[in-house]
């Protein structure tokens, strides 16, 4: 019994104090006979640490990881470098085995980290306030939409475009289905830009949701879209990439009202999609609608500066059905990782990371475009992500060939062009122009040698069709 304490003697003494003959007696007193299990749980037998470690190591070794393969995958999760300090700090038990800081006196470490995280997010986004994190980028995007809808009573239209992350749109469809809201997904133009959404904004529009750089790696005219939304009385929500802000203008400086991001890029491992970190910041005026936990500064009874969870009256444990959101646990440990990561990078480190991504992505584009088989899709410059069309029309075979050579060479976009579940098919599909295309991400971690090998392997792959 691996983590249990009691000796037979302990158990006997404890039962004596309780005045019970056995633990079963207590349980039988509580749980009616008719609903008690009459057989043991059918689970694999207990396994000791030695055997389990060996088995788990075997299972782990059967997966292609960004360690065993060279990773050019993105689509909202990126193989960025994580400095050793991040892992070292986050693996301290005082952080990862602590609880939600309801008792501020014994949680000043976590509370200060949350306050620092919030400050860093406001510095990063150029917006006034930040919460202390949400589940992930996708659900944060939807929380932002719900927040905007609750601000904009009487307006129920949500406008987005088909180059916002398809999975984020899928979440939006699921959440909005049962409430009074209409989701309008405006097709992007042939270059993958969302400008056409401007014409769809009307006096019923509560908010517009854009992504910049968007899912296909293109930059959007954020300021223009935000200005049009503001003119019509609608709020602008932007999905941003934290690393991009080493170079690109901040959401707050472009007129955006709510900015959300997937924070995985800031010191968090790929971990097959989670746990991830939902970043959210907004203009000051929206603070009382901001979902999730917020740490604030105050003083203690001796006048010393300290930190507490604050504005909790918005939250479920006080407001119950009137709460602004049902968010309960959050991603503090991942917010800690992001805080340490940003502290290590600083402004120049963030800029340098963005510059390396930009240069390596430009190089990768250039080498792949040399092959007649491939065409880079979309005209604009890229930060770290771009789309490649396989004129041989065999993306699945191409990527399988690359995997055999130890490369995770790109994400097949063809299945994403036909949408998700039936109910949400049109709302979540990518434009059909991305069929037989794959999405490539080049982070600062990719070396020239790796990029060259990637291009060579792709160019030499057998093709089903003749080019």
């Amino acid at each position: 019994m691996s983590y249990l304490f009691h000796t037979d003697e302990d158990r006997r003494e404890m039962l004596e104090s309780i005045g019970a003959e056995s633990i079963d007696e207590i349980i039988n007193d509580q749980v009616p006979e008719a609903v008690r299990m009459k057989r043991p749980l059918d689970l694999p037998p207990a396994c000791n640490e030695l055997a389990l470690t060996a088995e788990m190591t075997r299972l782990a070794a059967r997966n292609a990881s960004a360690d065993s393969h060279v990773c050019f995958l993105g689509g909202g999760a990126y193989d960025h470098f994580i400095p050793a300090v991040v892992d070292e700090i986050a693996s301290r038990g005082e952080y990862y085995t602590s609880y939600t800081p309801y008792q501020a006196e014994v949680s000043q470490g976590n509370l200060q980290v949350m306050f620092e995280y919030e400050t860093l997010v406001t510095q990063l986004t150029g917006l006034g306030v930040s919460n202390a994190s949400l589940y992930d980028g996708g659900s944060a995007a939807t929380e932002a939409v719900l927040m905007a809808l609750s601000m904009q009573r009487g307006r129920n239209k949500v406008i987005t475009t088909d180059v916002v992350h398809p999975q984020y749109r899928d979440i939006l469809v699921a959440y909005l289905k049962n409430i009074d809201a209409e989701l309008v997904v405006v097709p992007s133009d042939e270059n993958g830009h969302s400008n056409p959404m401007i014409d769809a904004i009307d006096d019923q529009t509560a908010c517009v949701l854009i992504q910049h750089p968007n899912f296909v790696g293109q930059l959007e005219s954020v300021a223009e879209i935000a200005a049009a939304a503001k003119e019509a009385g609608a709020l602008t929500i932007q999905v941003f990439d934290p690393v991009s802000l080493g170079r690109l203008k901040r959401p707050g400086d472009m007129g955006v009202d709510i900015a959300i991001a997937e924070g995985q890029s800031l010191g968090n491992p790929l971990a097959y999609g989670g746990p991830y970190l939902g970043i959210m910041a907004c203009r000051d005026e929206l603070v009382r609608r901001l979902p999730g936990r917020i740490a604030g500064q105050t003083t203690d009874r001796r006048g010393k500066r300290c930190w507490v969870l604050t504005l909790q009256t918005r939250e479920q444990h006080i407001r119950r059905e009137k709460a602004t959101s049902n968010i309960c646990s959050n991603q503090t440990l991942l917010a800690l990782r992001a805080t340490v990561h940003l502290a290590l990078l600083g402004p120049e480190g963030l800029k340098e990371t963005a510059d390396h991504c930009i240069a390596k992505t430009a190089y990768a584009k250039q080498v792949i475009a040399k092959s007649e088989r491939f065409e880079v899709v979309g005209e604009g410059p890229s930060l770290k992500e771009f789309v490649v069309r396989d004129l041989g029309a065999d993306v699945a075979g191409l990527l399988a060939h690359a995997r055999d050579q130890g490369l995770l060479a790109g994400i097949d976009m063809t299945p994403m062009c036909v949408g998700g579940s039936e109910a949400s098919e049109t709302a979540v599909a990518l434009p059909s122009r991305y069929e037989q295309c794959f999405l490539v991400a080049v982070t600062e971690k990719r070396s020239r040698v790796e990029i060259d090998r990637w291009a060579n392997v792709l160019c030499e792959a057998p093709s089903m069709a003749t080019v």
Binding site: L4, R62, Q108, N326, S329, D355
Partner: protein, 500 residues
């Protein structure tokens, strides 16, 4: 022995020109970013982040860590949020590159080990709950509540039913009504009776043809298993509604009873409570949900399926595992990518460590510990509901409040001085001056005795000593009111100057 430097903010430690992380020279041709991008897209300067050396960063965060209580350093007798030992092997194994550095959009051919694990885990969750349909996508318990309620809404929509009300118990976690509201339902509260169980008359009065779901926590937040469960089951199902089980307290009933067997149609788990995933200062957790077979087609996805490989030559290729996207009936997604995989991997390791019999022992010892504490505490604090409990119990400080002007909060603050985390206070709302205690199965009798001793001594101590507690912590009794009235939610030069 703490100098001011250790608690200064990152922004106050910052010195222009310091730098911790450097990438060095590019190995590809550099590009002129200003030429490549349009001027209106580019920022003139990078964001004004603090500038620090690596040593600054390490010392800062290590010093801050020592200001936290944690399970690794302290006993957390915290009701309603199980704080049990977090096994180190789980952390180590979950950090193997084959689990940690796997991209969520990579092809399933390179995921067979992980998918096998996740498939097995889906099966374990189904077995423990007695509910066959499983989705592991939700990222937290409350997220699971929402996802399950969206599933219920999809089910009723397909039935052509106009059921739009969710009933929640007055002792339920506040997430229940908040989740119901987010899923588009109206909520009504069902009262508790004098025994702390569901008031059946009130339930009957509120059940009608508009009721979609009754959300039940069982064992409930008073630590009591509702002995009327069979009748509740009958009433709710006869009314054509579904029963949702808040799985927050599953650690009390593992292998003893199953939600599916006692009537639940949908439920969520909190792996970070029940299956020892660490809480990380508030998260991450995960919120996998289980449902009856007729609800499975509405689950969010993807889920993992397997196909037997008839030409297999070894155990490794006996099955092929696939990620199956939701069907047309599914609610779609509630989160990007698969889910909080890292938390699920830890749950899997925990379940494999114990096996079925071991899991029952976990619940037995959790129940033993709680009843032992109850048997001791009731000598000096009132315990309004019951002589026996499951995994936790709720005492009341209302008598102390009358006699000595000591509140539940005062006790909570003073217990910190004794080196214990405080119990949960003021929840559930149905108990006046509630002090909610949950020891879990991973604490020794010696620890429990020391905790009871400390609690008893506090009830004997002078009022002044307790009102000013805690005395041993770096700060004491922060001003929450000012924090909320005049929120300071980020560092600025001005905020720093005005308060230091």
């Amino acid at each position: 022995m703490r100098n001011q430097q250790s608690t200064q903010l990152l922004f106050e430690l910052s010195r222009a020109g310091r730098r911790a992380h450097r990438l060095g020279d590019l190995d590809v041709p550099s590009v002129n970013v200003d030429d490549l991008f349009a001027t209106e897209a580019l920022a003139e300067t990078p964001p004004p982040l603090p500038e620090l050396a690596e040593g600054d960063v390490v010392r800062h965060f290590v010093c801050l860590s020592t200001l936290n209580m944690s399970v690794d350093t302290h006993f957390y007798p915290l009701g309603s949020c199980t704080m049990k030992y977090n096994p180190k092997r789980n952390e180590r194994i979950a950090s193997l590159p084959g689990f940690l550095n796997v991209h969520p959009l990579q092809h399933e051919s390179g995921l067979q080990g992980l998918l096998e694990l996740l498939y097995e885990l889906q099966g374990m969750f189904a077995e423990i709950s007695g509910l066959p349909g499983v989705s592991m996508q939700p990222a937290a318990g409350a997220h699971g509540e929402l996802a399950a309620l969206l599933v219920a809404a999809a089910y009723f929509r397909e039935q052509g039913s106009e059921r739009n009300v969710v009933l929640t118990a007055d002792s339920a976690h506040g997430t229940n009504p908040a989740s119901a509201q987010m899923a588009g339902f109206k909520t009504k509260t069902v009262k508790s009776n004098a025994n702390g169980l569901v008031d059946l008359e009130d339930l009957k009065a509120k059940l009608d043809d508009k009721t979609a779901v009754f959300m039940l926590t069982n064992p409930n937040t008073l630590g009591l298993f509702d002995s009327q469960i069979e009748e509740i089951n009958q009433l709710v199902h006869d009314a054509g509604a579904l029963i949702y089980l808040d799985g927050a307290n599953m650690n009390a009933i593992l292998g003893i009873t199953r939600p599916g067997d006692f009537g639940a149609d949908l439920m969520h788990y909190n792996p970070h409570k029940t299956f020892s995933g660490p809480h990380g200062g508030g998260g991450p957790g995960a919120g996998p949900i289980c449902v009856r077979d007729f609800l499975a087609k509405y689950l969010p996805g993807p889920i993992v399926t397997r196909v037997e490989n008839e030409e297999a030559t070894s155990d490794d290729d006996r099955y092929t595992y696939h990620l199956t996207s939701p069907s047309g009936d599914s609610i779609g997604r509630v989160r990007s990518f698969f889910g909080n995989t890292g938390v699920l991997v830890r749950a899997y390791i925990y379940l494999r460590t114990y096996g079925g019999d071991g899991l029952r022992h976990v619940s037995e010892d959790a129940v033993l510990g709680a009843n032992y504490l109850l048997s001791k505490v009731k000598h000096f604090l009132d315990v309004p509901h019951g002589n026996r409990c499951m995994h936790e119990f709720v005492a009341s400080a209302s008598r102390l409040k009358k006699e000595k002007h000591l509140s539940a909060m005062d006790i909570a603050k003073r217990i910190l001085d004794y080196g214990f985390h405080a119990p949960t206070v003021y929840f559930p709302l149905v108990v006046d001056e509630a002090v909610m205690v949950e020891p879990t199965e991973t604490e020794s009798k010696q620890t429990l005795d020391a905790f009871v001793e400390a609690l008893f001594r506090i009830t004997e101590e002078g009022e002044e000593l307790i009102h000013d507690a805690p005395h041993s912590t770096r700060i004491s009794r922060p001003d929450d009111v000012t924090a909320a009235r005049r929120p300071v939610l980020k560092w600025t030069d001005a905020a720093g100057e005005s308060t230091t």
